[in-house]
């Protein structure tokens, strides 16, 4: 699992398909997520650009794509249970899977230890 400075995580599932979500720190900062706006399947997204929106009770937060690529699937459960992002941000609260267009982009991201120490 790798992390961005903007609190997204990405985990390779197989070959060039990866699953994306937000970190535990991100959900703690946002508070209760009450609505999740996910990208359309098939949409191409750019690394560092808006790819989804998390709506908390207080504010809307953009989720930036950690890498460039095509959206393959989205977490359908979040439409009825957005609180999964709070309860299980790095597992059941995943947002979407993406087909990476450039695997090298992963090299720019932090591993978990580096990410956690960046929060201190």
């Amino acid at each position: 699992m790798k992390f961005t400075e903007t609190h997204e995580w990405i985990k390779i599932q197989n070959d060039n398909i990866a699953v994306v979500g937000v970190s535990n720190h991100a959900q703690e900062e946002l508070g209760e997520i009450v609505y999740v706006e996910l990208p359309q399947i098939g949409k191409n997204v750019q690394a560092g650009k808006e790819s989804a929106v998390l709506e908390s009770t207080k504010a809307a937060a953009d989720v930036y794509a950690p890498v460039s690529g095509k959206i393959i699937s989205i977490n359908q459960e979040l439409s009825s249970s957005p609180e999964l992002v709070n309860a299980s941000p790095e597992d059941k609260g995943w947002l979407y899977t993406i087909e990476l267009s450039n695997l090298k982009e992963l090299d720019k991201l932090m591993d978990k230890d580096a990410y956690l120490s960046s929060l201190k």
Partner: protein, 378 residues
């Protein structure tokens, strides 16, 4: 991930003010937010569970960022009636009244509670963001009246106990409170001082507000949490304070009213008594009544899934008609609700469209309050 709203709230040049309960909030694990120059708890456990605690049981709020000001003197009633759009003249003693103050040009100075202690003694509760402005407003117009103005900003604290079980809890701690009817208050002895118990609030859930010298506020706070433990009391942050007031369709200064929104245009227009005697701003409000520039506020509920926020454009039949002054998530309805300010005449049941991040979302015009309340208040 990026959130503009939170980033903006955290930016503040001056050091933030802290209430006398700041250490209590920290110990309770609060997350803090900047609110009008104050570092206030936005949530402890979570906004939704705190909101539900107030709707279902009881919650405890620190609202010491608001400020109390005493107005005394033989003209006190006349003076406050002149400043208020609601009718202060003839108010009963130990009663409280909600009003909006107007500028001469009709814009809103502040919204507040006016309390009458006796014939010549009143006090008012000023919003955090208006402490300086409203005190200056009082002092400016006091010149023509026989009154003295005394702020209690630096040595008093305010807490609110709200929810259907608030009255039962309060009567255990302060037996005198069971005699206080809605929108009334009592001054009672506490240690070597006096505190004010007021059967008021801004959640629609009923309950009390307590005005007390700051040196005693921690002990009162602790006592309420301790005695409320068996009732599942929760400390409640500003996040839920906002969702609770929005569900009721209550005005929030800086949103539904401000220096350029007249009280008669707002969702708080019910408190304006245009038929009372002369008051500051009356001529401007009367002129506005027959003006084509007059706007009004309506409650809207999002039909589509999504969350509308403040300052979203609102359309009807494809034409832009106004903007939202508040918007958010209603934990009770599990839908997004908001207030729209528009010149267009809207009717309950009509559909409008709200622009959220470039897409159009359907919303329905509804009556306020947005929810049916379960209140221990009356």
């Amino acid at each position: 991930m990026g959130t503009t709203a939170i980033a903006m709230e955290q930016h503040q040049a001056d050091p933030l003010k802290k209430t006398a309960l700041y250490e209590r909030h920290k110990a309770l694990g609060a997350k803090f937010v900047e609110f009008n120059g104050w570092e206030m708890p936005i949530r402890y456990e979570g906004t939704v569970s705190e909101h539900n605690a107030v709707r279902e049981h009881v919650g405890l709020f620190d609202v010491s960022h608001m400020g109390r000001v005493s107005i005394r003197g033989k003209d006190a009633e006349k003076f406050l009636d002149y400043l208020s759009t609601n009718k202060v003249q003839g108010m009963a003693s130990v009663a409280a009244l909600y009003t909006i103050w107007c500028h001469e040009n009709g814009g809103s100075v502040d919204d507040l509670l006016v309390y009458r202690e006796d014939d010549n003694t009143f006090f008012v509760i000023i919003n955090a963001g208006n402490r300086a402005k409203s005190l200056a407003h009082l002092n400016h117009y006091a010149k023509d009246f026989d009154v003295t103005i005394e702020p209690h900003y630096d040595n008093e604290s305010i807490i609110a106990i709200q929810g259907p079980l608030a009255k039962a809890l309060m009567s255990q701690i302060f037996p005198e409170s069971s005699l206080i009817t809605n929108m009334h208050f009592a001054k009672i002895p506490y240690i070597d001082e006096k505190i004010l118990l007021s059967a008021t609030g801004y959640t629609g859930a009923g309950g009390f507000e307590i005005y007390a010298p700051s040196q005693y506020i921690e002990s009162i706070w602790d006592l309420i949490l301790e005695k409320g433990n068996s009732l599942n009391i929760k400390p409640v942050g500003l996040g839920a304070r906002d969702t609770l007031r929005l569900e009721m369709g209550f005005v929030l200064y800086g949103h539904e009213i401000n220096d350029s929104i007249a009280p008669t245009e707002s969702i708080g227009a019910w408190c304006v008594k245009l038929d009372k005697g002369n008051f500051l701003g009356k001529q401007a409000l009367i002129a506005l009544e027959s003006s084509t520039d007059k706007r009004k506020e309506y409650a809207i509920k999002l039909i589509d899934q999504g969350i509308m926020r403040e300052n979203a454009d609102v359309y009807k039949d494809g034409k832009k008609i106004g903007i939202t002054t508040s918007g958010g998530f209603s934990p009770t309805l599990k839908k997004s609700i908001g207030i729209v300010l528009t010149k267009e005449k809207l009717h309950t049941g009509e559909t409008v469209e709200v622009a959220i991040r470039g897409s159009s979302y359907k919303a329905e015009v509804v009556a306020t309050p947005f929810i049916k309340v379960k209140s221990g208040a009356d």
